[in-house]
Amino acid sequence: MTNGHDTHSHIVPIKVYLLVYVALLVLLVATVGAAYLPGHHTLLNNVIALTIAVIKAVLVILYFMHVRYSTRLTWLWASAGFFWLLIMFILTLGDYFTRHWVPVLGWE
């Protein structure tokens, strides 16, 4: 609450960054590889690709963006972003999933 900054500057060892970087590269290869699996275009394939993407995003947020070492307030804000994403998905899908409940002449 003072004008000085009370942040605890946590020094992250370079090794951690390098490890995360390697992990991201491995996951990148995995994404590309998964696209060549037989039956790409299937639902399963999408699930695999998205799962890998989420893991990558979490790594970036936690380590490269320092959220792991940050205050609770930062955690709150980071989660708010995902909560808002959820709002977007739920209300948008609420439209898509109910659009055909009322039969419309000429549709399908």
């Binding site: 609450m1 307030l73 708010a80 209300l91 439209d95 109910t98």
Partner: protein
Amino acid sequence: MSVAVAKHGEVKHNYLNAGDTVLSWLLTTDHKRIAVLYLVSVTLFFAVGGLLALLIRLELLTPQGDLMTSENYNRVFTMHGVVMIFLFLIPAIPAVLGNFLVPLMVGARDLAFPRLNLASWYVYMAGGLIATWAMVNGGVDTGWTFYPPYSSSYSTSQVTLTIIGAFLIGFSSIFTGINFIVTIHKMRAPGLTWFRLPLFIWAHYATSVIIVLGTPVVAITLLLVAVERVFRLGIFDPALGGDPILFQHLFWFYSHPAVYIMILPAMGVISEVVACFSRKRVFGYHFVAFSSVAIAVIGFLVWGHHMFTTGQSVYAGMVFSLLSFLVAVPSAVKVFNWTATMYKGHIEFRAPMLYVMGFLGLFVIGGLTGLFLASLATDIHLQDTYFVVAHFHYIMVGGTIFGYLAGLHFWWPKMTGRMYPEGIAKLAALIIFAGFNLTFLPQFVLGYLGMPRRYHWYPEEWQMLHVMSSAGAALLGIGYILPVFYLLWSLRNGALAGPNPWGATGLEWKTDSPPITHNFEETPIVTEEPYAYENHHQQEEVASGTGASTAEA
């Protein structure tokens, strides 16, 4: 208090005379100077948007589309919307008044990230110049809403460039939002607890939440339109396998909350001014504070009310309609509380207060007509008519611009050290009020009768209403030009203001006008609730015979 000015005269150091080279302005990290940079820029863009509006009203004087081709008419109203929304209404209050006042009000020396603040202005200018470049090189004709597939596949206008401009401007407001959030969390003066914060700060906090959580979505969505347009990648265009309604979801996910980005800061201004010129604390402080937060959150749940007739599921429509009615509640809470604040107050009819009273009436009309539009059945009749145009102008012009002008006059003495001339300022406020209503009241009737928006041909029998509207616009134009002149005039000739010409509470009034570069000689310590007008009447009596406030103690 006024001694400070009297004793040292005009040689006293302040942020304005802290350097007078062009570079000292262009490279400044002082939030107050950046606010001035923004003030000049948004005023210029407002003039551009205003001229485009006058072109629209000139065209609509006659039932025939005789002043310009339909293609050009499309461009004119689109550019009016793009300039007014992205380049004026969204940045106006936060980037000018907010920038200037947030650090002062929380008792800090500057915003948390001064260089990010300067970067925000540069990014804004880059976006604004790109959008201007697009305007003079063919313009845009999609409407400010950029709906595909027209925008992505058919329009031959400068859609991509304009989108890049809007994208950049979005980032400038994200920078501002981040700065406000961190400053309000981290840099409050000792003793300044959350519930001692001025409501202007609460409003800007809520606005920043919306900006930070919503703007990235519209930025990416618009970029996707550009991607579809340039690379023919099917995202929104059905011919390419896309879904145009998906665009509408993503666009309005931001753009409905964006209307609150435009109105919440104005509401913050209203709370400050109404308390000061009623000489009372704001009625129901906690309710007004939390209603800002409620608006920020619930405002994200209602976007589908723009899509009742565009192919959205009726069930989603019902949910969005219900939620839209809910979001009106916190807005109404504020209006009732401001009215209750004025009740039995010692009301002073200064120019800012006139704008506040205009705001109250016009915002109620704008908000209530929003409920007409949020009702599924009536919206079928009203969607895409002038009723919608009138609705949002009542809020954005009658609300946001009135709030902006109220704030600009109220804090003008703080920003410049000079009083504006009261008489002519009041006259301008009255002209603006009259011109505004003459412009937009007939548009409710036109819309109800079926006049669609975005067309320049219309049946003869509506001409009278259109003529009234155009006449009002001319009057409104005069009303807006007046402040430009008398405010500039006051820079040299206005009476010296002294630190606190209104006898107002709040930390920004406890330092010089104009403030020194680091705002306060020493960090202030806060020991009392906000708006303690009734506790100590006129403790901060003002001298210098400036037409300064001397409400009866």
